[in-house]
Structures are given as structure tokens and as C-alpha cells.
Symmetry: C2
Subunit: 478 residues, 2 copies
């Protein structure tokens, strides 16, 4: 019974979704709390997920011409203040360094909450001619935002992310890059994380401080709430003007370049947990799982058992991230651990299996168990991993699509938001006042004005009844 | 003549080595200065070097069982103060965050200068039994030390590094890990960066704040100065005791575990420049070069030239990091750029070469030029890259070995340090006083007590004449 310990301590997600989430995060050893208030520790199992996400995303970036750089951690106050909307958005939530090397600083510096200002400061120095454009830089780093309430992966005072910052000759090219990077994010989530998303544009109220347009991918968690999973911003030439970035154009005149930025963070690990996890623990899509297959020896002290397990790992599973669990814990414990940690497949091999030339394969996502012949392992396992990857995506897609409701009347809207976990599609007049009213009444926010499936479902704003301008996806959000 | 601009502006290294270094760093676009005093910007060419170093080192780490994690950026003052020697070493050079989210913090926090204290804080929570040992964690991050004078890559207020922090059951195991990681660093420098190093132990004066022993790899720059290129520390159980980290041993009693830490930083990029660079610019060893081969089309507007260049890149140079420079600048400019940026090889292909079924190959390290047949490219280029890699190492080794001098008398010692660029081997009594005298007289410091070639060359301390305890490598250092 002690073997079950790893599972027993998880709260059921139907009972208390928030506690279920925290339980998984702790029990699967993804993170730990630190002595630094509001900051978290990424443990090996959690950080390995981020490494895989980085690897997959960075390859996509480089294929589109992105170059990685690294900018300073600190932003002098005067630099942060250069663009008015931006400083208003971020100043209240930054951390300030006021002393260094035993002395009070002449000018205080914040720890970067995001680095538009630093990139502009650099671009001012290195962009002189249209020949210097475009500049498509990105950095992988941590940023700090002084959040009051925090949750592992979803909201913490320091988090890991990438931030891309680009400069272009024309507004069209900037717009194209903004959309391109949103599509890169959506593709990463779909293909590697098996998470479907809704792409769309943020309202003025929800857009990034200083941007002219913010695009977003919104994912739906198992409890029906939204998680904004990546954003891409078009800045127009606002920052460029504020920072005096000018280049000599093809017409031999001075122009301001057009700017974008885009970011995806360790929040996506929260999405992985809340889209795919179940009451036994984490469920990881094979492409992103640090361990794809765990081989559990049965009666491992019997001669030959461990040898066969290792032989299968080395000879039949080349190119697959596999480990043989030869620790001295019981098979039952190892099964429970596979489930808690979300390894997509486990292979059980015992003396009888070896006699019969067989092994037992167990899927994490469906708990399905199948006995296969040893000589099938080489072809069956890679195929099964692909099947799991696509099944997980299809299930998540089915969940997303079946949890979106239409509302044309406000009472209906409120009832849906209140009673049905999921998103509600409803028309909006375009005024922030209605967003504020809806948020006050229901806690739901406008997630986005979707790029697809956005035909009007009524001609009136669901809230005020005035003429509608946009179809909006509404939902409660993390 | 304008084509030569990229080269013309470099100071000769014999004239002014420091200026030569700064010129390369700027002209090869490795870094840029930022508006943040003492902090630098890693531009794409500089950051790509760090990415390659990370990739090569991280693979070596993982092969020895290292697991990556990420710890908070901030250290509360009370945590930093827990170990006495450590806080004395670091407190004077940290940056303090005193305000966050619009409020003064109850306890100020420093931006990590190194993370021993944070790792101890974590290990206290997760190490309970000998079964939890060893813990072999590492993180890739930036750290901040408030340096008064800074130089690109060598010394800046923020720099990038990895820091490994491990805990072990026995002092022997900790010592073994300390040496193992030093060897990993030496191997990275030798095999990938083509830089020979001297491995040894630091004196008490030069060791890390809080360590019982610090091991180092010391490289020699072209001007004969030393660059400490990686360090590995054994902490004994000092921190574990200060932090109350205890585990139940195999004897069922409580014990403190034994600790190590080890780090390698972006300083190694400085070493790459100063070991291999020449008066034409950067020279990069092929294994670490982001671009290994640049193909320069001659008369590229002539029909077929660019096609052949691209065909060679795609079909004959698979697995090699190659780029075709099809920009509209002149071949002369492209040649100069290859030299400044240190691409190991360039291939020139023009209409006459195509007619003759040939191309011209030019080595960056020796400027050697050779015409080869097109059908040789596939085998010749990979072999030549290997040859360049080993030639570069051999030249650096020859330089190191021929620039080490022995001294048994203090006058001789001072004369050597003063007149001969390089290191001096001399005996030492073991007293810090002599290190202080030597530093005051010559600006040289004890680099290490070498692991190899350390037979006594006299029985007296070169400085005070008292009985000698150790052979020491002395030198001026960055």
C-alpha cells in the first residue's frame, strides 16, 4: 500500500481544481517554493520541460531568421520612462535596485519586466540605413514583475521566457512579423504540446502597454478557464519615435522603423498540466516529455531481467528518450511514479514475459495495457508515441470545441459564464465600459477577437445592446 | 579601398593589446556597450559563441549525471549572511533591491552574485536520507557583481555563466566531483575551444569565499597574461552546517552532506579572442564557430555562379555550418569580413573556377590558399576543419609551453615577470605575506599550485627564502 503514496495524496480535480494543480506540481517535483517570497524554484522535472520547449521554439525561430542576443538585466529609470504608455503599464509592478557595490546609485534601476526600452536603446545605435533592416533579435531570460498573488508557473515574481524584438522598414512588414510569430507559437502548442488554441486580437483594454495591437493565443484549461499562452505585439513607430530611432530610407530621407515584440513564457508548463493532467497526475505529450518511455523490470533480481530491459532500451528504442528504472523500489511504486510524472509509456518486462518473448506496454494517457511481442517493440513504440501525441491533441481539441457557447442576450451570457465551464462567444460594441461591466458582473474578461469563426451572431452588443462591432471570445482566465 | 574598412580600424596587437582586444570585440560585432553602466550587450555573433559553448558543455554535464534547475534571481539578505566567509567575500560587491511593487521591502534582497546560499536553502528541504544523495544540480543564468572597472566579456557587472551545486554523502565523493568538473572544463577548452590550460589548486588567498579548496584552469593569452577560465570548489560541510542540512545516513545517524560548486562563464569568449585572434581579427576554432565555412561568389551576377555556390553548400557540405554570402557587397569586403569575424574557412567560386571544375579554399588561421577540385570539397573541407582545429590547439600549446619560465631567486623572478610575457614557476613558503609582497612588487599573482609538473625546483620560497612548501605558477592576470 505504501507504493500508492505518490498517488494517494492528490486531490481530485473535480473536488478542487486549484488544489489538484498544486498537488501535481509538488508531487511530480516540477517546482518547489523558495525562501524568496513570490519566486519559485524550477526542479529538474520542471526545468527539463522548459528546456524542451526552448529547443523546439528556438529551432522554429531560427528558421524564420531570428538571431539571439542577451541584453542587460537592469533598466535605468530614465530609460523605462521614455515611452509614456509603457512606463504607466509597468512602473507599478517593478523591483528597484537602489544600491550597488556599497553605494547608493545615482539613478535607480529596475530589474527588467520586459525589454522593449533596452532593445530600442540598442537599435538606436545600430540602425542607420534601410540596409540595417530588418533586425530580428530575441533573448531567452528571466523577467521580474512584482505580483501580489502568485501561483506556480502561472504567476510568479520572476519567470522565464523569451522576448523577441524586431524593427522593420514598413508597417506591413512589421504586421507580417507580428502575425508570423503568433503562428509560430500556435504551431508549437499544437504540434509539440498537443494544445489547441484560439488565435485573435486583444481589445484596447487588454493589449500590451505601448502596443498598437496585441495578438494572442488562448488555450482552454480542463476547468474551462482560459490561459493566455503567448502574445505578439505590433508597436507601429511609437517607441521608435520616443527613442529617436531613425534610418535613411531608399528615398534618402529619414524615417522611423516599425517595431514588434513577442513572448512565450514558463506559463506554458502550467497549460501542459491543466490541459492534459488527470487524477493520477501529470500526462505529458511524447514530443515534449523529457522521458518518453520508462521500462519497469518485474522481479528485477532474477537473472537476465535487467539485462533484457537494458537491451530493449539500447537496441530497440534508439532515438527515443527512454530510461530503465532499476532502483530498488517495488514495481507498484514505479507504476505510480510513471503516472504521477506523466511519462507517456511504460514497458513492463518480467521473467515470464522474457520466456514468452513478450512485454507489456501501458499508455499513460488512456491507461490502456497491451501485450506485444518483443520483436514488435522497435516499430510499435515509435508509432504508439505518435498516436498518443495526436490522440492527446484531438481530445484537447474536442474539449475546447465542445466548451464554447454562443450568447446574444446578457442574461444568457451571465448564466453561461456562471454555469458552464468554458468560453462564451458574444458580440461587443467596442467600448471598454462594457468590458468593465462584464468583468464586474461575471469575472470574465475578453480573451480575444478571434481571427477565425468570427462572423457576427447578432448585431447588438451583448452587454449594452448598442450596435456591435466585434465578435469576442469571453472567459474566466488564469 | 572602402572594402578594407573593416580591417583598417584594428589596432595592432603588438602596439596596444588592450585596444586590439576592444577593436575586435567591436568590429566583429560580438558585443555593444549599453546605457546600463558596467553592463554589456551580447550581439548575435557573441551570443552564438555562448550558445555553442553551452551546448557543448551541457552535453558533457548531462553525461556525468548533472540535472539542470533554475533558482530565484534574488537572495534575501538574511540568507546571504548565513555563511560567514561567504558573505564577507560577496557583500561588498552586490546590488540591492530595496523596493518592489511600489513599496519598500521589509528585507532587502541582493541580485545573486552566485547561488550557494539558495541551493543550500533548497537542499535543506529536499535532502533527508542518504537515498536522496548525491544531488547534482546546475543552472544556466546571469549573475551580478558590482565591479568598478569593467571590460567586455572579462569583467562586467552582469555576466552569463553556469553554476553547478552538488551535495554528497562523503568527503571523498565531493572531492571526486570537484576534480571531475574541473576536468570537464579543461576538456571543453582543449577539445572545442582549442585552448590548453594548466590545472591546479588556488592558494588560500585566491580561493573562493567559503570554500575549503578551489581548483582552477588557467589559460595563457597571447600577451602572456593568465585568464582564470573555470573554477571548481570543494566546500566540505561548512555551508551544510551553517544551513542545518542534515540527512539520516546508512548508520541511521544524522550527518551533514559534503558540497561542491563549479562555474564557467562568458569570460571564455574573452579567452577565445585573446588566445587565437590576430591582427586581421577574430580566429575561431571550427568546433565552436557559429559559421564554419563562408562561400564567397566571385562575379555573382554572372549566370550560374550563385547556383553553384548554393549547390556546394547544400550538397557537398552537409552537417557543416555554412553560409553563402550573396549580399551585394564586393568580394574584397566579404574576404575582410571573413577575417574579422573569424570564420575558419572561406571558399571562393567564380565563373572561371566553375569552368575548371575548381574552387579556392582559404584558411582563416594561416591565410593559406589552395585550389581544389569541386569533387574534392565533400571530403577535403571536413578534414581541413579538423586540421585547423588541431593546428590551433597545437599553436596555443606551443605558445603556452614556451612562455613558462622557472625562477629560484627573487631578482630573477621579478626580471622575468617584468620582461617576459608569460608565467613563472617558483617555490613558495605557503604564507599569504609573500603573495602580497610579490603582488605589490610585480602585480603578478599566484595562479595555482599545478597538479602536474609540480616537482620542487628549489627548497626555498622565492620571495622570503624560508622553506618552500609548494611550487606555484605566477603571472599577471585578467
Amino acid at each position: 500500500m505504501a507504493d500508492k503514496k505518490m498517488v494517494e495524496s492528490i486531490t481530485s480535480m473535480d473536488e478542487d481544481f486549484a488544489q489538484w494543480y498544486t498537488d501535481i506540481v509538488k508531487r511530480a517535483e516540477l517546482m518547489d517554493y523558495s525562501s524568496v517570497k513570490g519566486c519559485m524554484i524550477f526542479l529538474p522535472a520542471g526545468y527539463a520541460l522548459w528546456e524542451n520547449i526552448q529547443d523546439r521554439l528556438d529551432k522554429r525561430f531560427k528558421a524564420t531568421g531570428v538571431e539571439n542576443v542577451y541584453m542587460p538585466l537592469f533598466i535605468p529609470e530614465s530609460l523605462l520612462q521614455r515611452e509614456k504608455d509603457h512606463v504607466e503599464g509597468f512602473a507599478p509592478e517593478v523591483a528597484w535596485v537602489t544600491e550597488g557595490g556599497g553605494e547608493k546609485l545615482e539613478e535607480r534601476m529596475c530589474v527588467r519586466p520586459t525589454s522593449e526600452t533596452l532593445f530600442c536603446d540598442l537599435y538606436k545605435n545600430i540602425i542607420h540605413s534601410y540596409r540595417d533592416l530588418p533586425k530580428v533579435f530575441n533573448q531567452w531570460c528571466s523577467v521580474v514583475r512584482w505580483e501580489k498573488t502568485t501561483r506556480p508557473f502561472l504567476r510568479s515574481r520572476e519567470f522565464l521566457w523569451q522576448e523577441g524584438h524586431t524593427m522593420h522598414e514598413t508597417p506591413e512588414e512589421a504586421e507580417e512579423r507580428t502575425v508570423q510569430m503568433l503562428n509560430v507559437y500556435a504551431d508549437l502548442l499544437k504540434e509539440d504540446l498537443a494544445i489547441p488554441t484560439i488565435k485573435g486580437r486583444k481589445t484596447e483594454k487588454e493589449k500590451f502597454a505601448g502596443a498598437t495591437a496585441t495578438y494572442t493565443i488562448e488555450a482552454m484549461m480542463h476547468d474551462g478557464k482560459a490561459l493566455q499562452s503567448g502574445t505578439s505585439h505590433n508597436f507601429g513607430d511609437g517607441f521608435a519615435k520616443a527613442f529617436g530611432i531613425e534610418y535613411t530610407g531608399r528615398d534618402n530621407k529619414l524615417h522611423n522603423p516599425f517595431q514588434t515584440s513577442w513572448g512565450l513564457s514558463t506559463r506554458t508548463i502550467g497549460a501542459l498540466i491543466m490541459v492534459h493532467g488527470d487524477n493520477d497526475g501529470l500526462v505529458l505529450p511524447p514530443r515534449i516529455a523529457p522521458t518518453q518511455v520508462v521500462i519497469v523490470p518485474i522481479q528485477q533480481r532474477k537473472e537476465g531481467v535487467l539485462d533484457v530491459c537494458r537491451k530493449v532500451a539500447e537496441e530497440s528504442l534508439e532515438g527515443i528518450r527512454v530510461k530503465v528504472d532499476d532502483t530498488d523500489r517495488s514495481p507498484g511504486f514505479k507504476f505510480a511514479e510513471q503516472e504521477m510524472r506523466g511519462f507517456p509509456l511504460r514497458i513492463e518486462i518480467g521473467p515470464r514475459d522474457i520466456e514468452n518473448g513478450e512485454c507489456v506496454v501501458v499508455r499513460r494517457d488512456t491507461h490502456e495495457k497491451k501485450t506485444i511481442r518483443m520483436d514488435e517493440v522497435k516499430t510499435y513504440i515509435p508509432e504508439l508515441l505518435d498516436t498518443i501525441q495526436s490522440d492527446m491533441y484531438e481530445r484537447a481539441k474536442e474539449h475546447l470545441e465542445s466548451s464554447i457557447y454562443d450568447a446574444t442576450e446578457y442574461d444568457e451570457f451571465k448564466k453561461l459564464i456562471d454555469e458552464k465551464p468554458g468560453f462564451v462567444r458574444a458580440m461587443w460594441c467596442g467600448e471598454q465600459e462594457c468590458e468593465d461591466v462584464i468583468k464586474a458582473d461575471t469575472t470574465a474578461t475578453s480573451r480575444c477577437m478571434p481571427f477565425e469563426n468570427n462572423e457576427p451572431i447578432s448585431d447588438k452588443c451583448v452587454c449594452c445592446g448598442k450596435p456591435a462591432k466585434h465578435l469576442v471570445i469571453w472567459g474566466k482566465a488564469y
